[in-house]
Symmetry: C2
Subunit: 122 residues, 2 copies
DNA sequence: ACAATAACTCACCCGAAAGTGAGCCTCTTC
DNA sequence: GAAGAGGCTCACTTTCGGGTGAGTTATTGT
């Protein structure tokens, strides 16, 4: 993570360009990874542990679950709390205000998606 | 496009599962492709032709531009109008009500992203 | 002694997203 | 008669997201 500086492939360049042009592109990239918003929703609604989430979404791999949780924590959308420091360390996740605010917008998106746009409107 | 039924790679399966669990996943997938929302924004603000968009985003390839425009049209976010049926066919794009409604939510997302969540709030 | 348990992490692989270059179509201009 | 204009589309290549399986940690139940 500290030694590779090439980064010239224009794929990465374009990503940076978009970030620079408008910050919304970063937000879109942050919220679109698969499972992420679903996990945020689950955590907010009480499914707040690694193993509980695993049960809730059996087809989701440990690998990706761990990664998504780490992202959510890193972006300040959920908070991680150690419940029991015993050996199988138990951990509890809870949404931050930021995370809850995001969910509101996500709800709006869902609403938008389900709306019938065939008839004209105000 | 009509003959391939295999679809067993679990990558695709999971995508379908997510769609089935919550429609918001489809929306997220639809809005997250690179350039898409930026293009929608541009079109809404008067940059409404293929070549104009090309100029506005020089690093975006024709290939992807064409594809994104087609998606936007297919999803009913923008409308395509033939301006001049002369040989270099001129075409004009304009956002639909649905497209404008989406931009509103995208704005909310941007706002959310730019907000300072470090201090507590109501 | 050995499986199970909670929460991860590592090495590997495959398909999809997105980038590049060229081609096409007909009409007008140099 | 060649080039350029406008709007695409095709073939090819690279990057990266996300999937799988196995390994790690220490303690407890059988």
């Amino acid at each position: 993570m500290a030694s590779n500086l090439k980064e010239g492939t224009s794929n990465a360049q374009n990503r940076q360009l978009l970030s620079a042009w408008c910050s919304v592109n970063d937000v879109l990239r942050d919220i679109s990874p698969r499972w992420k918003m679903v996990l945020l929703h689950g955590i907010t609604h009480g499914v707040a542990q690694f193993s509980r989430l695993k049960q809730a979404f059996p087809t989701l791999s440990d690998q990706v679950l761990g990664q998504r949780l780490a992202e959510l924590v890193a972006e300040g959308l959920v908070e991680k709390t150690v419940v029991a420091a015993t050996v199988p360390t138990q951990i509890h996740y809870a949404p931050t205000p930021k995370g809850r605010a995001l969910l509101t917008i996500i709800d709006a998106l869902q609403h938008w998606g389900e709306q019938d746009w065939s008839r004209d409107h105000p």
